[in-house]
Symmetry: C2
Subunit: 278 residues, 2 copies
């Protein structure tokens, strides 16, 4: 039986160096018998809010520890069924930020799988079992995610990036939440948003990653599933502009008030547990 005791973010699954590089792949079914770690990765879509939830697991570790990034309340049962079928042990239910367009699934997940720890940034101001800060590493088996601060859409937005090392997935993968979207970016007009911060966050924390780094956003509205740093550097219609032009674009989007914000944000500030009182 696994037990988790956290003060600072640590793990019972410390990283173990391996001489074998591994490549990230979509939908890998764990059949590896080598000593190297193997990432099992699934991208899952919630149609109402066009949200992507990501399932990552170290399928070569005997416990098959797994985490979910940006789960949605409506699709919790789907996600937990898949995790069970794949024989994984869910360890973390993580958010990139306090979402305004849907209620996170972390609250329901914690109710159904009591050992799971919710994770969000300290800067988000939201309740969670674990608060992460830039530079933290989140270990699952012999794999890990790095935490990068990418404020601008909200003040507490973070990007989770797969580790840099010989036994970590190649190319790297960046889970950018609503900060960097495919050929777009998150809005900056509420929840402590700032177009200046967003521009700096993306250029300093995401565009400095290797060009083949895979970009996995929290949303896509056009049916794209993935991009790369190289593509966004070259083709993002907003981020390829200079900072002043970018700020002008963001100041003139004239977006409507998010229809879910008054329900979603209060719920998500307590990890999706709407009735939580402490």
């Amino acid at each position: 039986m696994l037990r988790f005791h956290f003060i600072k973010l640590t793990s019972l699954f410390p990283p173990k160096p391996s001489p074998f590089p591994l490549r990230s792949q979509m939908g890998s079914f764990s059949t590896s018998t080598s000593s190297s770690s193997k990432l099992l990765f699934r991208q899952l879509f919630e149609k109402e809010s066009s949200t992507y939830t990501y399932l990552l697991a170290d399928s070569s570790h005997p416990d098959k520890p797994a985490l979910l990034i940006d789960p949605v309340d409506r699709t919790v049962d789907r996600d937990l069924t898949l995790i069970k079928e794949l024989g994984l042990k869910l360890v973390y239910a993580m958010n990139t930020h306090v979402h305004a367009d849907h209620v996170t699934g972390t609250g329901q997940i914690k109710g159904k799988v009591p050992d799971v720890k919710s994770v969000i940034s300290k800067a988000s101001g939201a309740k969670a079992d674990l608060h992460v800060v830039p530079g933290d590493k989140i270990h699952f088996g012999n794999l890990f995610l790095e935490v990068r601060a990418t404020p601008g859409h909200t003040a507490g937005c973070i990007t989770y990036v797969t580790g840099d090392g010989p036994d970590q997935p190649q190319p790297r993968m960046a889970f950018t939440g609503d900060v960097l979207l495919i050929r777009a970016c998150g809005r900056t007009d509420f929840q402590g948003g700032s177009s200046e911060q967003l521009y700096k966050s993306i250029h300093s924390q995401i565009f400095t990653l290797p060009k083949d780094t895979l970009i996995y956003p929290a949303h896509d509205y056009k049916g794209f599933t993935v991009s790369t740093v190289g593509e966004e550097l070259q083709y993002n219609p907003r981020l390829t502009k200079d900072e002043e032009t970018f700020k002008n674009i963001m100041a003139n989007l004239n977006l409507s008030y998010p229809k879910m914000i008054d329900v979603a944000v209060p719920a998500n500030l307590v990890c999706g547990i709407q009735s939580e009182t402490n």
Copy 2:
């Protein structure tokens, strides 16, 4: 300038063996400088019909030859823009079958990119530049797809499977159209459908592939993006049943008449060119 002359399905890009195995990966941005082939792969979603379109290219070949599987008319511009941005040369616009729920994008694509050849099975009865039969190989650069006959949803359904060889993607990938869906399968009550054939097709042509083979269907309605042969063998609620039970399930689905069928099928029988007269 590339030119294409086809009688039987051949290609200007013959396969070249390589000692280096390569792994399929989602959204690979071609940066390879090795002599081995590298698959660039993108999964694209069309929300109205919940259709997946797949883009595959050999990004290590100087011409970066690419193909689209099951393009949708509504998303042709998105797909062609992506292909242009990635620096690919679209060679084939392929269908797994004559779709009843959406109009294929092949007609529009041929109008916008004249060198592209439309591909469909001979058994479909549909018009196309190239008709494939089971056992054909469709080469793009040093990579190729195999054609497998998987009738049952329609009489002309085929499954495209990435090649078996040291220089082909590992794990293999099967583009199953509407035959095998994730935890489901296509209906069998129109267009020459047959539950008996569907059951035999999946068990003989798909479930015999290695268990880690990635299943990429033409549709998903629950937000799944991929499965594996191993998963479907174990968890598909219909195909894990014996043949008689399966046939009973399929005979009692009580599905409504497909709302697009009377528009989509006639259009798709001529590659999505509704005004074509010859």
